[in-house]
């Protein structure tokens, strides 16, 4: 299963769920759905914030992996 098909709650670590940018009602939406909503016109503000949290987690998880290769 690709990252786009995974629900936000699986991709956002517990600590980032305490951010004001986390919206529990979007936790079951997939990253793909969230990206789509964030890019809509007008953009969905909750989706935009959730997208940034997912991407922050992905970036931090990959940070040392990228440097280690």
């Amino acid at each position: 299963m690709g990252i786009d098909d995974r629900p936000a709650d699986e991709l956002i670590p517990g600590s980032l769920k305490r951010s004001r940018s986390y919206h529990g009602d979007y936790g079951n939406k997939t990253y793909g759905e969230i990206k789509h909503l964030a890019a809509s016109n007008p953009p969905d503000p909750k989706a935009r914030q959730m997208k940034k949290l997912i991407e922050q987690a992905e970036r931090l998880q990959g940070k040392e992996r990228k440097r280690g290769t």
């Binding site: 670590p13 600590s15 305490r18 951010s19 940034k52 949290l53 922050q56 992996r65």
Partner: protein, 171 residues
């Protein structure tokens, strides 16, 4: 010397845990290192980043993570890494695009400054080696960076231009 070795070993261990996705262990290692080096910007930056990756509720708070990143920036004012991480935090965690943009500006300016200095030093080495064209290219790139770093190239820019002219005159 022993202290430096122990610091390097500790950071390497934390990075190994981080790469292996054992974020709780990586955080524990960095927390231990911070007991000995509480004002180290690299450790403070790592700690602030790792707190965000914790899966349990018992971990430190996001406010503490932010405070750690702010302290890293304060202590390592010339470290683009700390500014970049604080920028990402403000953007993603606090949805503060304006604050994030200021941090990224600072990181970009620091990187450009360091790159310009390295290019000028490399131009000297290449010039000594008789590799004139490559030295000219380095000087031109350094000048461009200085001129596009948010402030006028000024005296430093004029000095680079003089060096470019001198080098261009040589055969």
């Amino acid at each position: 010397m022993k202290l430096t070795a122990s610091f390097k070993r500790g950071v390497a261990q934390a990075k190994r845990e981080w790469r292996a996705a054992r974020y709780d262990r990586a955080l524990a290692v960095v927390s231990r290192l911070l007991e000995d080096w509480p004002d180290n910007p690299q450790l403070l930056t790592m700690w602030g980043a790792l707190v965000q990756l914790q899966s349990t509720d018992t971990a430190a708070t996001l406010d503490e993570a932010k405070a750690s990143l702010e302290r890293a920036v304060e202590l390592g004012e010339d470290s683009p890494e700390a500014w970049k991480e604080l920028g990402h935090f403000l953007s993603a965690v606090e949805d503060d695009a304006q604050g994030a943009s200021r941090c990224f500006d600072k990181a970009v300016a620091l990187c450009k400054g360091t790159l310009a200095e390295a290019l000028l030093a490399k131009a000297d080495s290449l010039s000594e080696l008789g590799r004139r064209d490559e030295a000219l290219a380095c000087l031109a790139e350094a000048y461009w960076l200085r001129a596009h770093n948010g402030k006028p190239a000024g005296a430093a820019g004029a000095e680079i231009l003089d060096r470019l002219k001198d080098l261009a005159r040589t055969e």
